[in-house]
């Protein structure tokens, strides 16, 4: 409608500097490597932190200012006595939020992705996701602005909401743990938040009654949750009987966090996950779980863990603050563990990477004892580009079913003590916070699998673009037979001959992974065949 467009253009005429500033900051955060800013020095990190914070502030200010330009909760607004309907006004404001704030950000994301050779389809997806994220953010601020009439009151309301949100964290986590699958699925919570935001915004514009708008928003939220619960009650898959190490259906219950899936599902390949349940750091837990081996960083130390008869070895690292949704437990029996696997003692605090500790309560393990469990883990991730730390490979020697990830097998070699060492050069897009990647060697003929660990890396705060280029050393040492909790030491060449290297990206809940075939892999000879 003409009225909507005219109002939008009026707002644009007034607030284009803010929109331009947000766009400039987006561009800066997306392309700063090209400007020669690395992540080496502390000043650079500060610059990026500041830029990220300022970008958020500018977006918030723009959203609040554009709504306050024609206030909805004031009896002095000029528009109320003009032939401009509240829906038209709301449409004009949403148009501004989309066109002036969300779309440029999304376009920036697309541009950055293209610049990092992510290909047009993936770049488009990146842009769309980013745009929707920004839209949700600014819509939330717009909501706040619609129930206030000055920047000061908006600021106070925001502080109040932040406090309330902080206080509500434990309850939200509970919802996160026990919530329906859609709540934890990609965009589930975002969709709910967007729906509630839009309903509250619409009601406030239409009726201009603050208390009722809040009530309506709360009601909408509860109805959405109720509907979701009903839907998931019908569609949630029952807990599968775990009989196999195959990497099959994931059990959606009892998960901590949720993975934000890409909107375009990939072909099913492999899913590996681990059932976890949230616990408090101080609780004592028996560290139980299916066999899992993991490694830390470039140090290349393998830790593996198994459940010996009559007891089990625990490991893990105490970690807090990553995400309250995750639970951590203390190292216990580390020396015993280290001795059992014959690795040098290493202080858990010196681990370079932050490892997630995956655990389940004793009764769950008892249920699974005797079974090789389905390992399913779901984590909340988002897609953003990452910092380019070096030169990027120009040729891809391995195909990738996941756009945005380039991997090249650099070398494959046998470990002296009977394992396989694979060096992979990966350029990939890393999640906002977490990036979980799992390598596995699968031997179908022998019905065995060897797993590497989860690699967790923390990246910059939301809103920044990071593209990572790095080399991973992946070691495979042990293997497990299906149906057994016992790990068999050693991966001998004959085992390896029938193995295929599987790369699993746990960023994709709808399972996404790729089979990386290792072309021309020839079993190196080490001191004669075994």
């Amino acid at each position: 409608m003409a009225a909507v467009l005219r109002t939008f253009l009026k707002d644009l005429g007034r607030f284009w500097p803010l929109a331009a500033a947000a766009f400039a900051l987006n561009a800066f955060l997306g392309f700063f490597p090209d400007l020669g800013i690395g992540v080496s020095g502390p000043t650079d990190a500060v610059v990026l932190e500041v830029a990220t914070a300022v970008r958020l502030l500018v977006l918030a200010l723009a959203a609040v200012a554009v709504v306050h330009e024609d206030p909805v909760s004031s009896d002095r607004s000029a528009w109320i006595t003009r032939p401009l309907g509240p829906w038209q006004l709301l449409a004009a404001k949403l148009l501004f939020l989309t066109v002036a704030l969300a779309a440029p950000s999304g376009l920036c994301a697309t541009a950055v992705s293209l610049r990092y050779h992510l290909g047009p389809p993936a770049s488009a997806v990146m842009g769309l996701q980013n745009g929707l994220d920004v839209l949700l953010e600014v819509a939330a601020y717009a909501c706040l602005a619609s129930v206030t009439s000055s920047l000061l009151t908006a600021g106070i309301a925001f502080a109040g909401l932040t406090l309330a949100f902080a206080l509500a964290q434990p309850y939200l986590q509970l919802a996160g743990v026990f919530g329906p699958s859609w709540f934890q699925a990609t965009g589930g919570r975002e969709a709910l938040a967007m729906a509630v935001t839009l309903v509250a915004l619409a009601y406030q514009y239409a009726r201009r009654r603050l208390a009722r708008a809040m009530g309506v928003a709360a009601l909408a939220g509860m109805i959405a949750m109720a509907v979701g619960w009903a839907v998931s009650a019908v569609t949630d898959r029952p807990e599968p009987t775990l009989t196999d190490v195959t990497l099959g259906v994931e059990d959606p219950k009892g998960f901590v966090g949720a993975i934000l899936t890409r909107p375009f599902p990939l072909a099913d390949r492999v899913v590996v996950g681990l059932q976890v349940r949230e616990t408090k750091p101080d609780d004592e837990h028996d560290w139980v779980g299916p066999p899992l081996s993991r490694f830390t960083a470039a140090g290349g130390i393998n830790y593996s863990m198994s459940a010996p008869s009559g007891g089990w070895i625990r490991d893990g690292i105490a970690e807090t603050g990553l995400d309250d949704a995750y639970s951590y437990t203390a190292w216990r029996n580390y020396p015993e563990f280290a001795r059992a696997v014959g690795v040098p003692l290493r202080s858990p605090d010196s681990a370079v990477h932050n490892l997630d500790v995956l655990e389940m309560p004793a009764e769950d393990f008892e249920r699974l004892r005797g079974l090789s469990g389905t390992l399913t883990t779901r984590f909340k991730i988002n897609r953003e580009t990452i910092l380019d730390q070096g030169s990027l490979p120009l040729q891809v020697e391995a195909s990738s079913a996941m756009p945005g990830r380039l991997a090249r097998i650099e070398s494959v070699s046998l470990n002296p003590n009977g394992g396989l060492q694979v060096v992979v050069h990966v350029t990939d897009v890393v999640a906002r916070r977490y990036n979980y990647r799992l390598w596995a060697l699968v031997n179908d003929r022998r019905n065995e699998v060897s797993l590497s660990g989860f690699l967790l890396s923390l990246n910059y705060s939301p809103g920044s673009y990071l593209l990572r280029d790095h080399t991973d050393q992946i070691s495979f040492q042990r293997r497990w037979t299906r149906g057994s909790q016992e790990s068999n030491a050693g991966l001998d060449p004959s085992w390896l001959k029938d193995a295929r290297l599987v790369f699993i990206d746990l960023a994709y809940a709808s399972p996404g992974s790729v089979d990386l075939s290792v072309p021309g892999f020839v079993m190196p000879k080490v001191g004669g065949a075994r």
């Binding site: 009225a3 009026k10 005429g13 007034r14 000029a78 006595t81 032939p83 401009l84």
Partner: protein
């Protein structure tokens, strides 16, 4: 159909009734002056009429439509100018008019041009840089050209110099049409401005309507009475009657009071009868004096 009909209109702020069971009718085509002291409820009443505020109870019908149901169509015919209304004051006059003009299909560009010439406003300076008078003129200019059937003005004259006030009134009188009469509701402290202009008067006090009637009727029934004669001061009746207000003896043989039901000769005779042997002079009162008489109800003083 009346332009505005308020029925048992009440608006509470917390527990304070700013408007208290108000029953007000504004006839179509009238220029209605709404008078009242500060805090009497004038602004609140106008905001209730225009749906800027929601009533606590009661209802309002504006141009035949319930006030809370007024939408785009209703506001094509309504104009509102108030001092506390927040304009987009970063805009220039030109920008503001360019923004509002397309909303109104009946916008009269000729009238706009005439008013622009009359108001003599700088087109390219942002509104916030203009004086208060110029800003109000600008607001007027964004309202008058679409010839609203109902024009609501909340204290439009306050702080304006006399020349600007004249220009306002001229502009206001431009919008009427013979086939579509314009109704104007003006709330003002400036009683002298509205005295000549308005043909209806309503007086608000403490959220209630004390009176609402045509201006000539109000002016006709109020008289300042001066009774001069020997011993007049001693003859003041103990119970003077409801129409006598602020009765006092200015001097032993001079009595002053206000009569609010003056009907010409019969009333004069009545007063004469109460004060035999005196001369009675009944003078018309200005609207300001009438208004003050409503606000101050001094008890009648007894004889010395």
């Amino acid at each position: 159909m009346n332009a505005i009909e308020c029925e048992h209109l009440t608006r509470l702020f917390g527990r304070f009734p700013a408007v208290n069971d108000l029953n007000l009718t504004v006839p179509t085509g009238s220029i209605f002056a709404l008078l009242g002291a500060n805090g009497a409820g004038k602004t609140t009443t106008l905001k209730l009429i225009l749906n800027l505020l929601h009533p606590t109870s009661g209802d309002v019908r504006v141009l035949g439509c319930g006030s809370t149901k007024m939408g785009k169509e209703a506001f094509l015919r309504i104009g509102y100018v108030a001092e506390d209304q927040v304009l987009h004051d970063w805009m220039t006059l030109d920008q503001m008019l360019d923004y509002y003009r397309p909303f109104y299909p009946r916008w009269d560009r000729d009238l706009e041009r005439r008013l622009r010439t009359m108001f003599d406003l700088p087109p390219n300076r942002s509104l916030k840089k203009l004086s208060r008078g110029m800003r109000m003129k600008g607001a007027f200019l964004s309202i008058l050209p679409f010839r609203p059937e109902l024009l609501v003005l909340d204290e439009p004259f306050s702080g304006l110099d006399p020349q600007v006030r004249d220009e306002f009134i001229e502009g206001l009188l431009e919008i009427g049409d013979t086939d579509r009469p314009s109704t104007v509701v003006v709330s003002s402290h400036d009683i002298t401005e509205v005295e000549r202009l308005a043909d209806w008067v309503g007086i608000l006090a403490e959220g209630r309507l004390v009176t609402a009637e045509p201006m000539p009727a109000l002016q006709g029934r109020f008289r300042r009475i001066e009774v001069v004669g020997p011993g007049a001061g001693t003859r003041i009746p103990r119970e003077p009657g409801p129409a006598w207000r602020q009765v006092e003896a200015a001097a032993p043989n001079v009595v002053h009071f206000v009569h609010d039901r003056f009907a010409g000769e019969p009333t004069e005779r009545e007063i004469q009868a109460a004060f035999p042997g005196t001369s009675v002079k009944a003078s018309p009162m200005t609207l300001r004096e009438i208004f003050l008489a409503h606000i101050r109800r001094a008890p009648p003083t007894g004889a010395h």
